[in-house]
């Protein structure tokens, strides 16, 4: 994959967020577990927020990414790989979300190799950092909700 401009990269990132939003929307529709369903709906909202942020950067309303630097726990790396079922639980939903954020981070990290100039590389780094932040946030939620006594 090759990008010729920052606009192209941001358009791609917006499409990725839209795709993720549709994915969570579908899971919310199919889930029978009320908690998981509500979580997926919340994730749809989250992805919309990410999309809006990217669009704001693209239009110049936001100057760049501003990650909070949430410490990583590397939880995603040790947890299993649940697959979607209708009776999926919040715990499995959280792991899926953590993995999706990790995959997105790795994708942007990988795309850096194809960046033609420093500006493009910088924006891909920003996108990767943003996804890493999302992953850390999901891990924090998992830690607070699932691992409450651990």
């Amino acid at each position: 994959m090759e990008f010729n401009s920052i606009q192209e990269v941001l358009d791609f990132a917006v499409r990725q967020e839209q795709k993720a939003g549709r994915f969570y929307g579908l899971m919310a529709e199919k889930s029978t577990d009320v908690v998981a369903r509500k979580f997926f709906r919340e994730m749809v909202g989250e992805e919309r927020k990410h999309e809006a942020k990217l669009k704001a950067i693209k239009s110049g309303k936001l100057s760049g990414f501003s990650g909070q630097g949430t410490p990583q726990m590397n939880l995603t790396e040790v947890l299993g790989e649940p697959v979607f079922r209708e009776d999926i639980t919040l715990q499995e939903g959280l792991i899926i979300a953590m993995r999706a954020e990790k995959d997105a981070y790795e994708m942007y990290e990988g795309l850096k190799a194809f960046a033609r100039d420093e500006e493009l590389k910088k924006i891909l780094e920003g996108l990767a950092a943003e996804e890493l932040e999302h992953k850390a946030r999901m891990e924090s939620i998992y830690d607070q909700v699932v691992q409450r006594e651990n």
């Binding site: 908690v35 509500k38 040790v78 409450r148 006594e149 651990n150």
Partner: protein, 595 residues
Amino acid sequence: MSLKHVLQPFNAWVQAFSKPYTIPMKDTMRPGADRYRGWHINDVEKCVGCGTCADICQNAAIDMVPVKDPVKGDSGLRPKIDYGRCCWCALCVDVCTTGSLGMSNEYTWVEKDPEKCRYTPGVDAKPWDGSEKGWRQEEGFSLIVKDRVPMPMLDPKERIKTWAEVVVGYSVEEARKEAARCVSCGLCVAACPAHMHIPDYIGAIRDGDFEKALDFIYDNNPMPEMCGKVCTRRCEGVCSVGIQGEPLAIRWLKRFATEQFEDFAKVLHPEVKRVGEGKKVAVVGGGPSGVTVAYYLAVRGFEVTIYEALPQLGGATFFGIPKYRFPMPSLEKQVDLLKKAGVKIVTDHRVEKDEFRRLLEENDALFFGTGLMKPYKLGVPGEDLEGVIYALDLLRDHHVGKKVEVGESVVVVGGGNVAIDASRVSRRLGAEVTIAYRRRREDMPADDEEIEDAEAEGIELVTQSIPLRVEKLENGKLDFIWGPAEMVPPDRPGGRPKPKLIEGVENHLQVDRVIVAIGQKGEFEWMPEEVAEKVVTSRGWVEVDETGMTQWPGIFAGGDLVNSTADAISAIADGLKAVEGIQQFTLEGLSVSKS
């Protein structure tokens, strides 16, 4: 009388022109002795506003005045001294629970305005604030009795061979002696989620009036024998006596008071206002929150029915807490009183969707407190292997008398009270037990005392260990593989530090069982969709407003599903809140604001 005698007094005027014999006052005062009892000083940061100084003052020279917002363990009050009354006896200093109050060795202070002779040491600045000299509590001497009356307990080596209660209990003499240590500051009342009348019942125990103590206790806790044995005792964490000594054994004293009576109904004198007659309330779930709602509504005249899925009321305190901490007769006594109060109890009965809808129609209000009955899974590869079990299942099966086998060695994953209970039960079943916890020992949510007891029973604690996977070995055992963790700062100040896996290192532990106790969750399959959709959050909690009511008018909730602490006393506090909320809703028809 001669002329000489008449004129003699006027001779004295001659002295008016002579040098006076008085001694002029020196510019500098003689300093007070090193331990002089002069004007008060107070380290207001160390002071917790317990008011013990004001209580002991024989001249009522001390008022406790607000200087900041109260927080748990600090009333926000500080002593203000009236020097028109103070006799400088220093009893206030000698009794100070924190050692913050002292007296400088300064003794002169002149003010024209007598009002200024009342000040709050440490708050109203005075020249002697930094005084090093003066009266302080002597090292090793205090009017407070700092040492707790020890609780007799079974020897760790002996107790792992039995299911007998570990804690023996106080004798009358021991209980009264322990109760006499209380300074009645009341900081504990604010810290207790149910705001129990702690100084009152401790005072009654001290005076030997155990019936009165029970009356105080039952005023806002319908499961006091349970709390007397297993409460998380946040009250003791703020006990002012505990600042320089050991906190009052509040939990053990409550236990003592309840153990004095076989039948609570014979000795309790509840104030009964049967305001709820003609109103019906259904309670789904017979845990501490449900029992609280049922009992206090019943004594107010409401017609209450509890529906419980298990064979006995008590919720997690019934199936989750092992007998050596909370034996069945203790629970049965409390349930018995509930029955005598007129509560209808339906056990072994799981309410399902259609019945829930019917209950909603047939009752004036419905309360549910169905708790966190399902375990979270370990989430790592191998967790579905035979031999990986859940602490909740182990505890429940053991409690209802099912045969439970854990083999020779187990690892329990988790650091809460459920993990500790599962560990100690496994130990009593004959296994060597290791607890694997992701964080540090000081981060463990389990009660400190429970952790110490577990260690005394030979249970090993491996902290900062992150489960990686579980594998089946050829010898039939399980290989519990874990990695070490380093701690990274929490997301927010005051939060839990977070464990981060140090990659590339694997440790192995061969065991017969991996017992998972990382956390529990609520279950909502029994609840009608339209209700669940409205009351359950995306994290699996139930949101209620300040009266305990959910987003669905007339449906109230409480207990572990609602509060973040997931302990019995918080569930009781939720129940108390809902009692008032249900009364308001059913009798006054109040439309309650949503949180």
